[in-house]
Amino acid sequence: MIHPIPSGTRDVLPDELRELRAITDGMRAVFHERGYGEVATPALEYEEVLTRGDTAAADPAYRLFDEHGNVLVLRSDMTIPIARVVATRYPTAPVPLRFFYLQHAYRAVRQHRGQPREILQAGIELVGAPGPEGTAEAVIVLCAALDATGLTAYKVGLGDASLFVRALERVGVPEGARPKILHELATRDLVGLERELEGVGAGELLALARTRGDVGVLEGVPEAEPLRELYRQLPDDVRRRVIFDLGLVRTLGYYTGAVFEVYDAAFGAPIGGGGRYDDLLGRFGRELPACGWALDVERIHAARLQEPGA
């Protein structure tokens, strides 16, 4: 008898699960060694709690009603649930707080794209450690975790969610023109970005949005000082993984400063990412700077199989 399961979901059988566990066990050992404690939160949350302050940030794809008519959602990431945990369970605890998780998150899929609805994420949240020291710690742990998975060719793209906005301010682009410009940047349309920038006489910023490379590319960019400071705090083995990317934007709305994405040439899409979100915790009632990232364990596994020597 064949019984179907929903598109975008799958059964994981022993051969694959053994390999996935090898990856997550390696990462878990790194997290413990660096002083991070594991947390688990419910997959189901109240919608009004998860979307508190910013509906777009949580962006839940699946909603259901409980027996009392409350609207429940399946979490779309772990960052917001952990922000809730910090405010609720650690209202006065000394900081920094260090958490890690190995949990599933749930996303909507587009038709015929082979996207998963259920994603196994491994990640950390470093709460109460401001940038650049806190950000540096998060990036260092990120590389240690990636090393533990056996990936050899990964790169970490580093950008700053506030950088382009500050550059627009510096060259005097009127506030009304900015949303259109930032939209072109967010939709990765550099032709449209050039058109919009030239429309307000700020064509020189196109080069900024296109800047990717080693630490040398930060020279002469006043807005990049926080990234230079971050770089100074990174050890050499992490530095050689870094690609600075001044046009990097992340799709989630809660990032306030440094953002990062993880690439592996063996996989066509980013295999993880994160950044600073210094305003998010405040929405849940405990104002603390924070930083974190999540890696997609299944993508790491797929990249591992593609990398030479795997």
Binding site: R110, L190, R210, R212, G213, D245, Y263, F267, G268, A269
Partner: protein, 206 residues
């Protein structure tokens, strides 16, 4: 680097451009049926498949029309450069005559039936301009649909307008203009930044 090259209207201009970059395209030009040219780093496909291959990382960069990118706007690819060739327009056309049958349908039926291969562009356009439409997706010659009375109008791509004219259709509205674009995979865009930027600089200078 692997390049996704569109067969069809953009094929020749694309190969000419690759020649300028110093890529040997003679084998591609000589071979109509082969799809993968390992040595030149070229894969060939229909234009609407280019974003699919580039998004997946099966090609690092690719060339396709803005019309294709607008129709598949959710694809995670970087649009790097307007290459200028392959100009065409996305238009709304109906059967010629003083009375526009689509406007007539909207007035008397409250909705117009529109045939197209570009359902997302057409849907967004009529929604933005506040008109109720029922989209009929066709795969082949769209011009046939209004002539048979199946629909009140069409949304289609036209370069010269000749095919529309020959079938007794007139352009009522222009929706967007399109040219060929250079696109890149988001991971290649970072991991192969130097190679991609070198291509960009040479194309900008060309």
């Amino acid at each position: 680097m692997r390049i996704a090259v569109p067969r069809g209207a953009l094929f020749k201009d694309t190969l000419d451009l690759l020649d300028k970059l110093g890529i040997d395209t003679s084998e591609v030009r000589a071979n109509d049926r082969k799809l993968l040219f390992e040595e030149a780093g070229i894969i060939t496909m229909r234009p609407s498949d280019v974003p699919t291959y580039v998004e997946a990382g099966a090609a690092d960069i690719g060339i396709t029309g803005k019309d294709v990118l607008a129709e598949q706007s959710e694809r995670e690819v970087y649009e790097l450069l307007d290459l200028g060739f392959g100009p065409c327009r996305m238009v709304f056309a109906t059967v010629e005559g003083d009375e526009d049958p689509a406007a007539e349908a909207l007035r008397r039926l409250g909705v117009m039936r529109i045939a197209t291969k570009y359902s997302r562009i057409a849907g967004r356009y009529f929604e933005r301009t506040g008109r109720q439409v029922e989209l009929v997706e066709v795969k082949g010659s769209v011009e046939l649909a209004p002539l048979t009375g199946m629909v009140h109008g069409i949304v289609d791509l036209t370069a010269t307008g000749t095919t529309l004219r020959e079938n007794g259709l007139v352009i009522r509205e222009e929706i967007m203009a399109s040219t060929a674009r250079l696109i890149a995979n988001p991971v290649s865009y970072r991991v192969k930044a130097a190679e991609i930027d070198a291509v960009l600089e040479r194309l900008r200078a060309a």
